[in-house]
């Protein structure tokens, strides 16, 4: 699939289309990208993030070209569906078949044992602000509860934001941590003096 470049001008127009308030537009964009990623992952695509990027690029281009888009979210869904169907023509974009599916429970158990990864985790947590750290750790704590939905509502209330805003903050922090962790796992944690 040919990649559509996302120019800064097109991206700016997309943000403006999502919301005239830049901060809110940023949140909307993050959510929209996540929706696309989830969609491609649920459809069994091997590279959901790349396809989400492609969908965003095409969406931004269409808007910049002046295409009439009444409901940007519905339009995005249609575009994502089209890109998914295009991706089916390329076998490398498909998920592994059930028969070839790796059975990896032991990977997860041993994953927990890795000292180095814990060092990376602590290093990456250290890159967050105090508020971000507290928020994400409390959020994970709630994930262990059977009924964490209500607890999250309470957490959002405690901070004075809506559950949606809480979720968006968590998405941002997780993205930040993920980027840091991938880099740390690849190159090792920075050595302390």
């Amino acid at each position: 699939m040919a990649k559509t470049p996302l120019t800064p001008e097109n991206f700016e127009r997309l943000l403006l289309y999502l919301n005239s308030n830049r901060e809110k537009a940023g949140e909307e964009y993050l959510l929209l990208w996540q929706k696309m990623r989830e969609y491609f992952a649920a459809r069994g695509c091997a590279h959901p993030e790349e396809l989400a990027d492609e969908t965003v690029s095409r969406l931004a281009r269409k808007i910049a070209e002046g295409e009439e888009v009444r409901n940007i979210f519905k339009y995005s869904y249609g575009l994502a569906r089209l890109i998914w169907m295009e991706s089916l023509r390329k076998p490398e974009n498909s998920q592994v078949s059930l028969e070839d599916a790796p059975v990896l429970p032991f990977v997860l158990q041993d994953f927990l044992m890795m000292k180095e990864e814990n060092a990376c985790y602590l290093h990456c947590l250290g890159q967050l602000t105090k508020e971000e750290k507290e928020l994400i750790v409390e959020y994970w704590e709630l994930e262990k509860d059977d009924k964490h939905h209500d607890a999250r509502k309470n957490q959002a209330e405690k901070i004075g934001i809506s559950p949606t805003a809480l979720r968006i903050r968590v998405l941002r922090i997780k993205k930040k941590l993920k980027e840091c962790l991938v880099n740390c796992w690849k190159n090792g944690p920075p050595k302390t003096k």
């Binding site: 590279h47 994953f111 964490h148």
Partner: protein, 287 residues
């Protein structure tokens, strides 16, 4: 918000790929158009991952999760992150410097109720335990003390086999029936480790060898050019040949990572084995 909001069963079926196509499309259109529905879907996904990690999923769901959800590289990584975060966040709770302002429920407070209620029983238990462990320590001491020493020094009289092969499974899957002891003698040149790996084969593997239970966990040996070989009858194996003269009478742990281009090393597993001097029986066989 639509009626999708907190229908976690619907979301779970969608995530596990069990929803009929028309329902899938309806749900997808809904979550694209309604942020609340999408956030509820993310909640359901977190819950599903959490249930999987806590082993709370029904066998059928667990199988479906491993065969459908985990086959997507992106989602597999999400589960690994979740596992890592959860494990590490527990550790973080014990790191006072990181979260000085946070008041986590402390362990002594939680155990104090148990202590108060069962104080006499616990005291009797401790006395019995001390008695038994003291007796065991005296009884087992001559056999259990194995001091680290070079193989060459300890086995000059016993030649042992030239090549020793051990077939090892990851520690989490290890069967008690497997032999994990390499009897290394003065004539032993190589210890071959046959490390069982999952069906997902990597272009190459990275092995690191550590002395088990060593607080420093210093790497003794390593290799970056290991490869898996497929077998018709069993799981794929990574063969790692170790020079016997680099080994000591110790308990070892080999760590294996899968290496693929452009991504971080993926941890495959830990494999435990022991190096011991050859027994008389094995030594005489090798002559």
């Amino acid at each position: 918000m639509s009626d999708f909001s907190y229908n976690s069963e619907l979301f779970t079926n969608y995530l596990l790929g069990r929803l009929p196509e028309p329902d899938c499309e309806r749900l997808e259109e809904n979550y694209f158009c309604d942020n609340e529905v999408f956030l509820a879907l993310l909640d359901a996904k977190d819950q599903l991952i959490s249930d999987y990690l806590n082993e709370k999923l029904q066998p059928e769901d667990r199988k479906r999760f491993e065969q459908h959800f985990l086959t997507s590289p992106g989602r597999k990584q999400e589960v690994e992150f979740a596992a890592s975060f959860r494990h590490s966040s527990l550790k973080t709770r014990r790191e006072p410097t990181l979260f000085a302002s946070k008041t986590w429920p402390s362990q002594p407070l939680r155990t104090s109720g148990v202590w108060q209620t069962h104080k006499p029983l616990i005291c009797v238990g401790v006395v019995i335990l001390l008695f038994v462990s003291g007796f065991m320590a005296i009884w087992l001491r001559p056999n259990s003390l194995v001091l680290p020493q070079p193989v060459e020094q300890s086995t000059t009289a016993l030649p042992g086999l030239a090549t020793i092969s051990l077939s090892l499974r990851p520690t989490s899957l290890r069967s008690s029936k497997r032999n994990t002891t390499a009897e290394v003698g003065s004539e032993t040149k190589t210890v071959e480790l046959y490390l069982e790996v999952s069906k997902e084969i990597f272009p190459s593997y990275q092995g690191s060898l550590y002395i088990r239970d060593n607080e420093k966990e210093e790497e003794v040996l390593s290799s970056d050019s290991l490869h898996a070989t497929k077998s018709e009858s069993g799981p794929p194996m990574v063969i790692w040949k170790l020079q016997a003269d680099k080994l000591q009478v110790q308990d070892y742990r080999a760590r294996l990572n899968g290496i693929s281009q452009g991504s971080a090393p993926i941890h495959i597993g830990y494999y435990d084995f022991e190096v011991r001097p050859p027994s008389q029986e094995n030594s005489s066989q090798s002559k």
